[in-house]
Amino acid sequence: MDTLKQELKENIVEQLNLEDISVDDIDDNDILFGEGLGLDSIDALELIVMLDKNYGIKLTDPKEGRAIFESINVMAKYISENRTK
């Protein structure tokens, strides 16, 4: 699980071009959207594509993302339970 969390942090920083934020700055329980890490709706779409591409998880309802992308901990749990690759 720790490897997956590290991988998620690296992907988020790289794919979302989070300037001035390093992997070490993201806590497993940090809120990713809104006042937390400051991600927005375009980032949500990027993360939906990342779930599909990297873990074979298709989110048909973007609203599902709101709960799944709450934090690294929540994301990692969802991915480990639903991944197909």
Binding site: Q15, L16, N17, L18, E19, D20, G38, I42, L45, E46, V49, D52, K53
Partner: protein, 354 residues
């Protein structure tokens, strides 16, 4: 009809032009066939949260516009008009590569959103919360001139009082590879000082953004008046002298009225003949300068020419490095700019001291 003035400038180029208090005081020399813009500290101008999705072209455009607005002491404008020959190439390449690499699956939105030609104009408007007229001209090497012409018409007809106008293009690696294959980029590396002596095919490619606040209200700090601008898609080489004469006649001027000729020579042996015809012909007694050895060639490089001419008119100083001949005008009141790229998209721009 109201007169149109250049009230401020903002430039990002392969020279350190982002500081308006300087005027080519220090020249950056290159020995290459592709040169990149000198980056200002973008974080001084754009918050990281906003800049993280911006490729270099967008950053250059946004920062150049901010510099111009600050100098004009404006928080907003009535219209934003942008010229770009190739648009946001980096994001276009990223998006198209993703389509191919991922077999048309897993397409992410960011690079697609940022890849459109009007992204720069859009991002400037978002930053300013400007809901006015916003237009982007994609007319190859007269993109910038088309933007200026649109702004000029608006201002002359009093449809706006201040318009932000600019030209922006960015370098993208793969596109450069293709331009090299077809000899649009010189095969050999060329020294900045020897561009016109290279006598080979192609140009030294580069990138940049030059923005201007144009207004029909003159300020003490105004740089110049834009008297006239004309573009021509195709002409015969032998017509350029006649065309220049006609352009000047339309503005009640003759050759002798021009204090300085600003030429867009890029050292391409195939097409510099257009410039040579003017410089060695009817303008052989006129002081001449060139600038593409400083800023390189790109579709909106002529916007650097307008930046240069504006600075000369305001400061009455002419950087040694730009001199094309040894004739020296006593002062600079009227400047004619001529540009073309690969024998097409010619333009004449007439600026006057104000």
């Amino acid at each position: 009809m109201r007169a149109v003035y250049i009230n401020s400038v903002g430039s990002i180029s392969s020279q350190k032009t982002f500081d308006n208090s300087q005027f080519l005081d220090e020249i950056v020399s290159y020995e290459d066939n592709i040169i990149l813009a000198v980056d200002p500290n973008y974080k001084d101008y754009i918050a990281p949260a906003n800049s993280r999705r911006m490729a270099k072209g967008i950053k250059m455009g946004v920062v150049a516009s901010k510099i111009a607005l600050k100098e004009a002491n404006l928080d907003n404008v009535d219209a934003i008009i942008t010229g770009t020959g190739m648009g946001c190439l980096k994001d276009s390449k990223k998006f198209l590569s993703a389509i191919i690499d991922n077999d048309e699956q897993f397409l992410t939105p960011t690079s697609f959103i940022q890849s459109t030609h009007n992204t720069v104009g859009g991002q400037i408007a978002l930053g300013l919360k400007c809901k006015g007229y916003n237009f982007t001209y994609v007319h190859a090497s007269v993109s910038f001139e088309s933007a200026v012409l649109d702004a000029k018409l608006m201002l002359e007809n009093n449809e706006a009082s201040s318009v932000l106008v600019g030209g922006v293009d960015e370098i993208e690696e793969y596109t450069c590879t293709l331009h090299k294959l077809i000899n649009h980029i010189k095969e050999e590396k060329v020294n900045t000082t020897d561009l016109l002596g290279s006598k080979t095919k192609g140009a030294v490619f580069s990138e940049g953004a030059n923005f201007f606040v144009l207004s029909n209200i003159k300020q003490d700090s105004s740089y110049a008046q834009i008297v006239a601008i004309s573009t021509y898609n195709t002409i015969k080489s032998t017509n350029i002298t006649d065309l220049a004469g006609t352009f000047l006649k339309e503005n009640d001027l003759d050759i002798e009225a021009i204090d300085l000729l600003v030429l867009g020579n890029n050292g391409d042996v195939t097409y510099d003949s257009f410039y040579n015809e003017l410089s060695c012909g009817v303008f052989n007694k006129t002081q001449q300068v060139y600038y593409k050895h400083l800023c390189g060639e790109f579709n909106t490089a002529s916007s650097f020419g307008v930046w240069l001419a504006s600075k000369i008119l305001k400061t009455q100083k002419l950087p040694e490095v730009t001199k094309l001949n040894d004739i020296r005008a006593s002062n600079y009141n009227t400047i004619l700019l001529y540009n073309q790229y690969r024998g097409e998209n010619h333009s004449f721009t007439l600026l006057r001291k104000c």
